[in-house]
C-alpha cells in the first residue's frame, strides 16, 4: 500500500500556502497532521499531484481562552486540547468529546482543522463544531472570513471549504459555568470511530427549565447533525425521566440512521436513542439504572 506518485512542498507562511493552492488547483491537497489523509493515499482513494504541508505555519497554532470563548488554531492537535490546563473548565463538553478521539500517537498529530476539513461523519470534532455553533475562520486570497458552523458542515465528507482556502481557526462561543451538558459515545473499542454519539447542552432558568438546548448526534446517514425536533421538545421544560424517555423516542423517530457492515439501521437507530437518553440523564444528574424515586 505504497503512496501514489506525489510531490510535496512545505510553505513557510500562510500567504505562500494560499498562493500554492491557487497555483495548483485540483492537483493539490493540503496536509496538516495527515492522520486522515495518509490512509486515503495508502489505499489510493485519492491521487493528488502535490501535497502542500501546512505543518510549518505557526500562525495556525495556539489555543486562546478569553471571555468571548475558546479559539482553536487550525493546527491545534488533540493533545494540545487534552493538555491545556484550563480548557476542561472553559469548555467541558469539547474536552469530553475530544477525549474519545483516536489513540495516543494519532492525537499527537491529528489537528482540529484537518478533522473539520475532512468532515468524517463518524468523527467527534465536526459534530462538536456544529452542535456548539462554532465559527470557522477561513483564509483565502481575498483575506479572512468567518463562516457559521451550519453553513460550513454540509454532510458526510463535505464542507463548504473552497479548494483554494484554508481553515485558520475555529471559535467556540463562551461557555457559562452553570451550563448543563452531557456527552455519550458508543464505539466498538476505545478510540474507534463512534458508532453513535450524542452531545447535549442547555442552560437553566430560575425554574430549572432548559433554555436554548443544543443536541448533536453522530450516526445519522446525513452526517453530523443537530436534532432540532428534540431540541424543541426540551426547550422550556424540566429535564425529568419522563421527558428523557420522550426525547429518546423522538430522537429515534427523527434520525435516518446510517447503515454499514458494523451496524445495521435498526440497531443504530436504537443506539442513537440510547446515547441521547444517557447524555440527557448525565446532564441532569439522573441515574437511569436505578428506579425512579
Amino acid at each position: 500500500m505504497k503512496l501514489p506518485d506525489v510531490d510535496y512542498i512545505r510553505p513557510k507562511t500562510l500567504k505562500e500556502a494560499l498562493d500554492l493552492l491557487s497555483a495548483h488547483g485540483d492537483d493539490a491537497k493540503l496536509i496538516a497532521g495527515g492522520q486522515s489523509l495518509m490512509p486515503m493515499l495508502a489505499f489510493r482513494l485519492l491521487a493528488p499531484k502535490i501535497l502542500i504541508d501546512i505543518g510549518g505555519l505557526s500562525e495556525l497554532r495556539g489555543i486562546e481562552i478569553t471571555d468571548t470563548g475558546v479559539r482553536l488554531g487550525a493546527r491545534t492537535t488533540w493533545h494540545d486540547i487534552e493538555r491545556h490546563p484550563s480548557l476542561k473548565t472553559a469548555h467541558p463538553l469539547l474536552a469530553a468529546a475530544i477525549a474519545h478521539v483516536a489513540h495516543y500517537q494519532i492525537r499527537n498529530r491529528g489537528t482540529a482543522g484537518g478533522s473539520l476539513a475532512h468532515c468524517d461523519p463518524v468523527a467527534e470534532f465536526p459534530t462538536m463544531v456544529l452542535t456548539c455553533e462554532a465559527e470557522v475562520v477561513v483564509a483565502g486570497q481575498d483575506g479572512e472570513r468567518v463562516m457559521i458552523a451550519s453553513d460550513f458542515v454540509l454532510g458526510p465528507m463535505t464542507t463548504a471549504l473552497p479548494a483554494d482556502e484554508i481553515i485558520t481557526a475555529i471559535r467556540f462561543p463562551v461557555w457559562p459555568k452553570a451550563r448543563r451538558w452531557g456527552f455519550e459515545e458508543f464505539a466498538r473499542r476505545r478510540g474507534d470511530f463512534a458508532m453513535a454519539a450524542a452531545a447535549i447542552f442547555y442552560d437553566l432558568d430560575g425554574e430549572q427549565r432548559a433554555v436554548d438546548p443544543h443536541m448533536g448526534i453522530i450516526g445519522d446517514a446525513d452526517g453530523a447533525r443537530r436534532l432540532t425536533e428534540v431540541e424543541d421538545l426540551l426547550a422550556g421544560q424540566r429535564i425529568t425521566r419522563t421527558l428523557i424517555a420522550e426525547a429518546r423516542a423522538l430522537a429515534e423517530r427523527s434520525t435516518t440512521p446510517s447503515e454499514d457492515i458494523h451496524a445495521p439501521a435498526p440497531y443504530r437507530r436504537a443506539l442513537i436513542g440510547t446515547m441521547v437518553e444517557r447524555a440527557l440523564a448525565a446532564s441532569a444528574g439522573i441515574n437511569l439504572a436505578t428506579a425512579a424515586a
Binding site: 506518485d5 506525489v6 510531490d7 490512509p39 500517537q105 494519532i106 499527537n108
Partner: protein, 165 residues
C-alpha cells in the same frame, strides 16, 4: 511527479543528511534509507502501531508521516532505547522479565510508545497505561504481561523524574 528532497534530522542522537523521496513514508525512510529496520510496518494505514517512533518527544505513527515531514526533527527509534553504555534500559529489562513479548513484531512500537508515555507522564496509572497502549495491537501476548512490565518500569522513570526536579 515525486522527487527527492534533502532533509536533515537527528535519529538516536546521530545526525543524518539524506535525500528523502516525497512519496515515501517516514517508516519506509527509516527502514530502507537509514537501514534502521527495528521499526516495523504492520498495516501501512495507521491502525496497528507497530511503526511508532518518537518525533520531537512525541510518539507518532511513522507510516502516517511523509519522509520530508521529518526534516529538522529529533527522532528516537527502538534502536535508541538502550542505555548509553549499550545495556538494556528499564523498559526492555522489564519486558524480558515479564515475558511481555513473543514474536517481537509489535514490540518496538510498544516500547517506543511506553517510553514516550512514561517520559511525559511518569505517574501514569494502570488505566492510563492501558488507554495509551490501546493504540498498539499485539496478537501474541494478550497484553497482560505488557502492562505488568510497563508498571514495573515506571518506577525507574519516576525516580529519574524526581531526581531531575
Amino acid at each position: 511527479m515525486s522527487r527527492k528532497i534533502d532533509i536533515s534530522l537527528t535519529v538516536n542522537g546521530r545526525r543524518h543528511a539524506h535525500a528523502a523521496d516525497t512519496r515515501t513514508t517516514f517508516a519506509d525512510f527509516l527502514r530502507d534509507d537509514l537501514r534502521l529496520t527495528g521499526t516495523h510496518v504492520g498495516c501501512e494505514h495507521g491502525v496497528c502501531g507497530a511503526c511508532t517512533v518518537i518525533v520531537n518527544g512525541e510518539a507518532v505513527r511513522s507510516c502516517l508521516m511523509l519522509a520530508p515531514q521529518a526534516d529538522g526533527a529529533t527522532v528516537v527509534t527502538i534502536e535508541g532505547l538502550c542505555e548509553p553504555d549499550g545495556e538494556l534500559g528499564p523498559l526492555q529489562r522489564a519486558f524480558r522479565k515479564h515475558h511481555a513479548l513473543q514474536c517481537g513484531f509489535c514490540t518496538p512500537g510498544i516500547l517506543t510508545t511506553a517510553h514516550a508515555l512514561l517520559t511525559q507522564e511518569p505517574d501514569a496509572d494502570e488505566a492510563r497505561i492501558r488507554e495509551v497502549l490501546s493504540g498498539n495491537i499485539c496478537r501474541c501476548t494478550g497484553y497482560v504481561t505488557i502492562i505488568q512490565a510497563i508498571l514495573e518500569a515506571r518506577e525507574s522513570y519516576r525516580s529519574k523524574a524526581s531526581a531531575q526536579s
